[in-house]
């Protein structure tokens, strides 16, 4: 008890004059804790919102859906199920705006009934959602209104039918607004729909929504109808399934954000460790005196542990408070990706968890340098330095290392959807931190070895500060390097992805694609494209087909065969195949021989297969496949395997048939052309759509814009999270610099006493921070280039692209920031009264 009292008293007294410094040290923890608290309490709120609004996630009690109109048996089943029902058909189609000739591929949803039963479609004006079906109007996505400069009251043409735009879609249940970015939505009543749009093209979705009277057991019903639905390959969805899906998806989302925030926490921890290290160094003499006067090592350690704990607690409290505030921003940040409205309430569990995590991490990192207190010999009071080689490193050190590593991996694994991803993330954290620390160490060794002894004095002095005792090189490299790494990587990846799309539509390559062209329309379309002065780059037939047998075994047999787990997505899917006489320039043969023409009457049809699908199907050259080509059986023999470059805007196929087989099968054509500018593209599209409403068009520049929009939303979220790390990095920078300031004050005063001018002292400092900033920035940039390159190679499988400007800006900005912070913190050093400093030293 008396011990405790003494510890507290000593802790308070000893902190005199350094409280501000101590607070600065632990402030590097604040943002990490804030991120943790904000994200995890947002996660709790999100879970609650999903549970509360579970009904609106589906908008109905049950939905049944199919890629084709419901088969007879299912229709009968639907009748027998009863309840209130709504029918909806969704399909991709060009929509046309007569007022200005604009046209764009959209997702059209034609509805009959009162769906959604739970939640509501929100529109501007609000009443439009309830009236458009009766009035025969349309609701359209805000982005369409903006793109074509339309307003409510204008018209939109879907197929041959013209609708008045009754309102704009603000929010709908079940869908996030990010979904609408890819393909804007247009809601119209089912009644009066131009069904021509459906009879062709196969990319439609047919859905039936049910609302049941109170108390009906949906699970039991599902069990009843499931066999029929399965047999007919018709899908269904219930609220609890939706809820599970969303819960899983959103949990992954917020866990991902948590991991990004975790980096800030770790960086803060490293900052604390380094600051406490310096702080304890300054306290070692005091510790030795206390030990000499008879203080036992426990209580002495207790004094500094108490200081660290109190400061850690303050940081955790401030961080939690900040986190509580920040979480109110997150719903807006993620609004585009959320299916439900999340109202934020303060959740105390995450706050408590963040608080204790913050305190725990602070202490864990502070403990490492604090251990020096335990090893301090009282002999230091008699001698300036004590031979410490005989001091056995405390085994506590290893315990702390183990706990630290376990905590990082534990957290990562807990937050990752699968354990190995967590392991990889934890490993990546250690690799990046380790590499930065390694480079820093390398710099200190290198700069000592290759010291530029011919440089002028201030430059030499500043340069040598990189490796002299008490240098801050490692910690500054870590904080600055990590921040640089995070932000530059994000920019580089964005640029790589954009460049990839740009290259895809580069000079001479197609950038405008027309599809769903019926054979009879092909010639007319070709003429009109040529008339507008556009090149006909490709005309490709498309035939839908399914595999029925692989080497004589039916799909059913393959599926049933439990001894070999062979059945994959490649077996059951519908293929769009083409036929032609030769390979295109995006294809290379990897095995067999490409056969371009089929002699009628000969046995099996020779086909060429893409290598990945060959892997999935487990087939090679010489194997046979049997097809159902829209009702007609076709037997084929694989004669070649191709590698396909999927990056090009081109029609690429898993299967290529020879000429002479499929010419009479029902087919559609795709036509590729190139428009030199947006105007030309728009004119071309609008003239085609007005003549052939069933033909759809995609403009690559639009894809580019959409991608850019989506990526910038995502990267905005990422940047927001990275910001925590970056600001933490700056705080660590500030605290590290001010620490070295305390160390350098004595030295500067000495220099001043020896006759150094103010300018020389400033120059020395400038040079030191210039080198630190420059080296940290270069290291961070180098790491991010490697990271971006690896991602391009393995994740995006796209060519690597590097913007020198981005890198240059990053290096300059980071160096400038370092110098600014450094110089700002060193201000006034020259003016410190010489005597005061010399006496204290």
């Amino acid at each position: 008890m008396s011990n405790l009292l003494w510890i507290l008293k000593m802790a308070v007294r000893d902190s005199r004059g350094s409280r501000g410094k101590l607070l600065l040290f632990v402030s590097s923890m604040v943002l990490g804790v804030a991120a943790l608290v904000a994200i995890s309490s947002f996660g709790e709120n999100l879970k609650r919102a999903v549970d509360d609004e579970a009904l609106t996630l589906l908008g109905a009690d049950l939905s049944i859906e199919n890629g084709d109109p419901f088969p007879e048996r299912v229709d009968v089943l639907i009748d027998s199920i009863g309840g209130e029902q709504s029918y909806r058909v969704s399909f991709a189609s060009m929509v046309f705006f007569p007022s200005n000739g604009g046209t764009r591929l959209s997702t059209v949803r034609a509805l009959e009934g009162n769906y959604p039963y739970y939640g509501a479609v929100e529109t501007m004006p609000p009443e439009a959602a309830g009236t458009y079906q009766q009035s025969g109007g349309a609701l359209i996505e805000t982005s369409l209104l903006k793109q074509f400069d339309l307003s409510v009251g204008d018209s939109v043409k879907v197929g041959v039918v013209t609708y008045r735009i009754d309102g704009e879609i603000v929010k709908t249940p079940r869908e996030t607004s990010a979904m609408g970015m890819l393909s804007p939505r247009v809601f119209i009543p089912y009644e009066g729909l131009d069904t021509q749009l459906l009879s062709r093209g196969s990319r439609a979705r047919y859905e039936m929504f049910f609302k049941f009277e109170e108390g009906r057991d949906v699970d039991a019903l599902v069990e009843d109808i499931e066999p029929v639905l399965r047999a007919e390959k018709v899908g269904f969805d219930t609220i609890s399934e939706r809820q599970e899906d969303w819960n899983e998806g959103l949990t992954n989302l917020y866990r991902f954000l948590n991991m990004v925030g975790f980096i800030a926490l770790l960086l803060g921890g490293v900052g604390i460790a380094s600051a406490v290290h310096v702080y304890i160094k300054q306290r070692i003499e005091t510790v030795a005196i206390l030990r000499c006067l008879g203080a036992r090592s426990g209580p002495t350690f207790g004094v500094y542990l108490t200081q660290a704990s109190v400061m850690g607690l303050i940081a955790a409290l401030v961080g939690s408070g900040l986190g509580i505030g920040i979480q109110f921003l997150i719903p807006q940040l993620l609004a585009d990706f959320l299916p439900v409205r999340v109202d934020i309430e303060i959740m105390w569990m995450p706050v408590l968890a963040g608080l204790s995590t913050g305190l725990g991490v602070s202490l864990l990192f502070a403990l490492l340098p604090l251990l020096a207190v335990k090893n301090t010999s009282p002999l230091l009071t008699l001698r300036k330095s004590v031979d410490t080689t005989t001091v056995v490193p405390s085994r506590w050190r290893y315990v702390i290392y183990v706990v630290l590593v376990a905590a990082v991996f534990g957290f990562a694994i807990l937050q990752a959807p699968v354990w190995w991803l967590g392991l990889a993330y934890g490993g990546a954290i250690f690799i990046v931190f380790g590499l930065l620390a390694l480079v820093a160490k390398g710099i200190t060794v290198f700069s000592r070895t290759f010291f530029p002894s011919s440089w002028p004095y201030p430059w030499r002095q500043g340069f040598s500060n990189l490796y002299r005792p008490n240098n801050q090189t490692v910690i500054l490299m870590l904080s600055l390097g990590l921040g640089t790494f995070l932000i530059v990587t994000m920019f580089l990846v964005q640029q790589i992805l954009l460049k990839q799309i740009e290259i895809a539509g580069g000079e001479g390559r197609p950038n405008l694609v027309f599809f769903d062209i019926q054979p009879g329309q092909l010639d007319d379309l070709s003429t009109s494209v040529s008339d507008q002065g556009l090149p006909l780059l490709e005309k490709v037939p498309l035939i839908a087909m399914r595999i029925t047998k692989v080497n004589g075994r039916t799909l059913e047999e393959i599926r049933q065969d439990s001894t070999r787990d062979e059945y994959t997505w490649a077996h059951g899917r519908e293929y769009q195949s083409t036929y032609r006489g030769e390979l295109t320039d995006s294809e290379t043969l990897v095995a067999g021989e490409f056969v371009g023409y089929y002699e009628s009457g000969s046995s099996l049809v020779p086909v060429s297969i893409e290598e990945d699908v060959a892997d999935e199907l487990g087939v090679g050259v010489g194997d046979s496949l049997e097809w159902n080509v829209q009702g007609l059986p076709v037997s084929t023999l694989i004669t070649s395997i191709r590698k396909v470059d999927w990056q090009r805007v081109q029609t690429n196929f898993f299967f290529v048939f020879p000429e002479g087989v499929l010419e009479q099968a029902p087919q559609f054509f795709v036509l590729l052309t190139r428009a030199e500018d947006e105007d030309q593209s728009a004119r071309m599209q609008s003239s085609v759509v007005s003549r052939f409403p069933n033909i759809s068009a995609i403009d690559l520049s639009l894809v580019l814009n959409v991608f850019d929009a989506i990526y910038s939303r995502i990267s905005f979220v990422l940047r927001f999270m990275a910001l925590f790390s970056i600001i933490t990095g700056v705080i660590v920078l500030i605290s590290a610099v001010s620490v070295s300031r305390y160390q350098r004050v004595g030295e500067s005063v000495l220099l001043k006493t020896l006759g150094a001018s103010r300018q020389q002292i400033i120059k020395i400092q400038f040079v030191e921070y210039l080198f630190l900033g420059l080296l940290a920035a270069l290291t961070g940039v180098l790491l991010s280039v490697i990271c971006a390159w690896l991602m391009a190679l393995f994740v995006f499988e796209s060519p690597f692209y590097l913007s020198g400007i981005t890198l240059l800006i990053a290096v300059l900005a980071v160096s400038a920031l370092t110098i600014a912070v450094g110089m700002f913190n060193s201000r006034g050093i020259y003016n410190r009264p010489t005597l005061e400093v010399l006496r204290a030293a």
């Binding site: 000893d14 350094s18 030795a288 000499c292 009071t381 008699l382």
Partner: protein, 242 residues
Amino acid sequence: MQSNSILTLQNLSKTYTSGSSELTVLKDVTLTIHEGETCAVVGPSGSGKTTLLGLCAGLDRPSEGGVQLCGVDLNGLSEDETASLRNQHVGFVFQSFQLIPTLTAIENIMVPAELRGERGVASRARSLLEAVGLLDRATHYPSQLSGGEQQRVGIARAFINKPRILFADEPTGNLDAETGETIESLLFELNQKEGTTLVLVTHDLELAQKTSRIIQLKAGKVVSDDISSRFAIPDPGVQVSR
């Protein structure tokens, strides 16, 4: 062993190993210091005086031999136990003062007493401050005091726990002659008043002369152990009350 011996060294040796070379700094030192004695340890620089002092106070461990301090064999104690022993019975005065920079003068003086969990030590500290003539500087920090003033605070701190033995390593080494003398007389004055055993390391032969016993070290060995006549050895039967 005599009942009134407070410090006994038995075949004490200290050897430093750096790499392959061994450096024996103290060789086979055996001596006994009695309660109430004042003795000076003298010798050329590097002869092992500070090393000896460190071993006596349990700040360091001997390579061979043993130390009995206040009747306790230091070899049998843990670091923390020697620390407690120091706190109970030992006072220190250092060449470089060794005040804690974040504590005021009076707080520095109170540290040893507070370490024992004692309350209300401020008045005792105050009277010690008065004894060293610094009562008006009680709330000043070390950096605001001159070297001599700092050492006076150091002496006051050494006496707060009424130690049975006081170790001083060149207490005047960092001070000018005049200030040094003030410090010396203060040290002896308090020492006599409290009846403390004093072990003083010094270069200053004049200072050494003021003690009752001079132990001379040379290259780690005791070369002479001279009981001066200027001070009588206190009656062995008299136990100094604490």
